[in-house]
């Protein structure tokens, strides 16, 4: 019991202890804020990618695409583990607004809005046709015109406050979209004619996926129209990918493996067909693998952050070590007194470990509270800084985020608090050990040999 009492009294009465508590609190605060924001950004980014892709993609990187996709789609639709399937066309195009001579390169994606919304989060990214995705490609000003859905950053420019100036209805703008159609062998379909496929589409809606690269470079077209533009229509139609959404109770890995197995079987069945060679380039990937190139960079950043904060943790250990070394040096007389009344070495270590535990617990508590308070107001603080000083932590024209993520995760908090306490215990271990093994006579009666 004396260990508890003394540990608490040391904590309260020694001013130097406040520095240890403050050091721990500061470290916990920084780690909580950064990890919460970083984890929020990463999980938000992953979720957006998941929404964009669906659960699984059967596709090829080749712009030629692959044939017989419709048959495979039918096979998939007959299974009991798949909720939605959407074949898509993916290619590159040159786009210029009507009347303008300036054109720029974009990616195009041809899709059926209803099917694609069933397999991905596409429908939720629309603005004007959010509640009626079937009409996504029908401009509100003339539903007979061929429509296109633009990535939001192609359609709108953020204002000074980094907000999009949404209009009540889409502006009547036509875009010329030019593609280089390819044959099944990969040659230019119109080689020698010196022409590309060009068609005019009208701005019908915009898509805000929250993925900067997608929103700034992707134009969505109707599947059939994109297929024609890319030269993939014809007797044997081709597509570039099939996006799949599993039923809610299906685990991603298991679902992907089932699809891969179905694809292998399908490929074998099609082995003798005319365009069977195109099937060799097709892979079956889960959404994470499909977007690996983008997600990996973010995860790498998160890992680097974690490593950096591990160093912050080591610094905490060192600070606690120094503070405890000073505290225990000042308490050598107490250690001698306790030993003179029969307290064991283990009890001395327990006493100072308990003291370190309290420092860690209190420091973590203060740091957590401060972190929570800061995160609660982080978006208000950022807005205030932006309004007053034109300072924004993440430039929204570059980073496709709305609010700064501030949802603290219990698991992350538990890891941070436990780490802080372990850091304190580690920092106090050596001084406690030294104190425990010191001879009482050296501390009680040095001058009286």
């Amino acid at each position: 019991m004396y260990k508890v009492i003394l540990a608490i009294r040391y904590l309260i009465k020694r001013r130097i202890t406040y520095f240890a508590v403050l050091a721990v609190a500061l470290c916990v605060f920084i780690v909580v804020v950064v990890m919460t924001v970083m984890t929020g950004l990463v999980s938000d980014f992953k979720q957006k990618n998941h929404d964009f892709v669906g659960d699984c993609v059967v596709g090829t990187k080749s712009l030629v695409g692959f044939a017989y996709y419709e048959e495979f789609v039918k096979i998939l639709e007959k299974t009991d583990f798949i909720e939605g399937v959407s074949p898509v066309i993916k290619s590159y195009a040159l786009i210029s607004s009507r009347g303008s001579e300036r054109s720029y390169g974009v990616e195009i994606m041809g899709l059926d809005p209803v099917r694609h919304s069933g397999a991905t989060g596409f429908g939720r990214t629309l603005y004007y046709r959010k509640g009626d995705v079937a009409k996504a490609f029908e401009p509100t000003y003339d539903s007979n015109l061929p429509g296109c859905v633009l990535g939001i950053d192609l359609a709108l420019q953020r204002d000074a406050n980094s907000r999009y100036p949404y209009a009540v209805s889409p502006a009547e703008i036509g875009f010329s979209v030019s593609c280089f159609p390819l044959t099944a062998k990969g040659a230019l379909a119109k080689a020698g004619l010196g022409e590309v496929n060009t068609q005019t589409f009208y701005y019908s809606d915009h898509s805000h996926s929250g993925l900067a690269r997608v929103d700034s470079s992707l134009v969505y077209l109707l599947f059939e129209q994109a297929q024609l533009l890319c030269g993939m229509a014809g007797p044997v139609e081709r597509a570039n990918a099939v996006h799949i959404k599993f039923k809610p109770n299906v685990k991603l890995k298991a679902g992907r493996e089932k699809v891969a197995s179905l694809w292998q079987k399908f490929k074998q069945e099609k082995a003798g067909e005319k365009q069977a060679n195109l099937l060799d380039t097709v892979t079956v990937q889960g959404w994470k693998d499909y977007r690996r190139a983008y997600i990996a960079a973010m995860e790498k950043e998160q890992t680097m952050m974690t490593v950096m904060f591990a160093f912050v943790g080591i610094t905490t250990v060192f600070i606690v070590f120094v503070v405890f070394y000073m505290i225990i040096s000042h308490k050598s007389k107490d250690i001698g007194i306790l030993k003179s009344i029969g307290v064991s070495n283990a009890d001395i270590i327990e006493l100072f470990s308990g003291f370190a535990f309290l420092v860690g617990l209190l420091g973590s508590g203060v740091g957590l509270f401060a972190g929570w308070l800061f995160l609660l107001k982080i978006n208000r603080i950022e807005n205030w800084l932006f309004e007053r000083f034109d300072f924004q932590l993440w430039d929204r024209t570059i980073y496709a985020i709305g609010d700064i993520p501030n949802q603290m995760k219990l698991g992350v908090l538990v890891v941070i608090v436990v780490s802080a306490i372990v850091a304190c215990l580690a920092g106090a271990l050596v001084p406690s050990w030294q104190a425990a093994t010191s001879k009482p006579i050296e501390t009680l009666q040095v001058s009286q040999l």
Binding site: M1, I5, D334, K339, I341, G342, N345, L449
Partner: protein, 234 residues
């Protein structure tokens, strides 16, 4: 006199310390026997080894050579935990500089040895008795009104009486006092010695170290330590 009359026997104690490159021999073969209920004063000049001897007798230190027997049992044969128990139950220390814990109140300092020897559960089982015993001791030592004060709020004499209370808390068989009046004025020192005399009259065995012959006169027997050896026992 039978062997059992001796509570403490030290035979051939040697102790040396390293001070830089040189080895300082502090005790050079000390023999000492203390009877139950005796009040022994060990006198000697500064550096004669009297405090070292007291620490060895109280198992705060170990001799390089020689034997200390407490009630017939060789302390060298005790394990670490047995020595801890010995220091907690069998002996009580009173130091020149009181050595109280500033974070604890007077009352807590007094019952600290009981608290230190028990687990949390054990402490809760006996805390009423311990507090009552500590208050009783404070009454005996004239400090009952100071129970909730902190040591730094007391005078030197009062602090030393608190230290005596702590030393007596577990009713030890032997009280070891290292220059208990060395840091006090003569009137206050006399008060402390009167406490020792009363305790001794009640049957408490006391071994006191002092460099002051006049203080030593208050003890029942004086042992003189010169250059690490006992030269005289009156």
């Amino acid at each position: 006199m039978s062997k059992d009359d001796f509570i403490l026997r030290a035979e051939g104690l040697h102790k040396s310390y390293r001070m830089g490159a040189t080895e300082v021999k502090v005790l050079k073969g000390v023999d000492l026997a203390v009877k139950k209920g005796e009040f022994v004063a060990i006198v000697g000049a500064s550096g004669s080894g009297k405090s070292t001897l007291l620490h060895i007798l109280g198992a705060l230190d170990r001799p390089d050579n020689g034997v200390v027997k407490f009630e017939g049992r060789d302390l060298n044969q005790h394990s670490g935990s047995e020595l801890n128990r010995f220091r907690n139950k069998m002996v009580g220390f009173v130091f020149q500089f009181y050595h109280l814990l500033d974070e604890l109140s007077v009352l807590e300092n007094v019952f600290l040895p009981v608290m230190a020897s028990r687990s949390v559960v054990g402490w809760f089982a006996c805390r009423r008795w311990a507090k009552s015993r500590a208050r009783e001791l404070l009454v005996q030592l004239g400090l009952h009104e100071r129970a909730n004060h902190k040591p730094y709020q007391l005078s030197g004499g009062e602090r030393q009486r608190v230290a005596i209370g702590r030393a007596l808390m577990n009713e030890p068989r032997l009280l070891l006092a290292d220059e208990p009046t060395g840091n006090l004025d003569s009137a206050t020192g006399n008060g402390i010695l009167r406490v020792f005399e009363e305790l001794n009259r009640a049957g408490q065995t006391i071994v006191m170290v002092t460099h002051d012959e006049r203080i030593a006169q208050r003890a029942g027997r004086i042992v003189t330590l010169v250059d690490g050896k006992i030269t005289d026992s009156i």
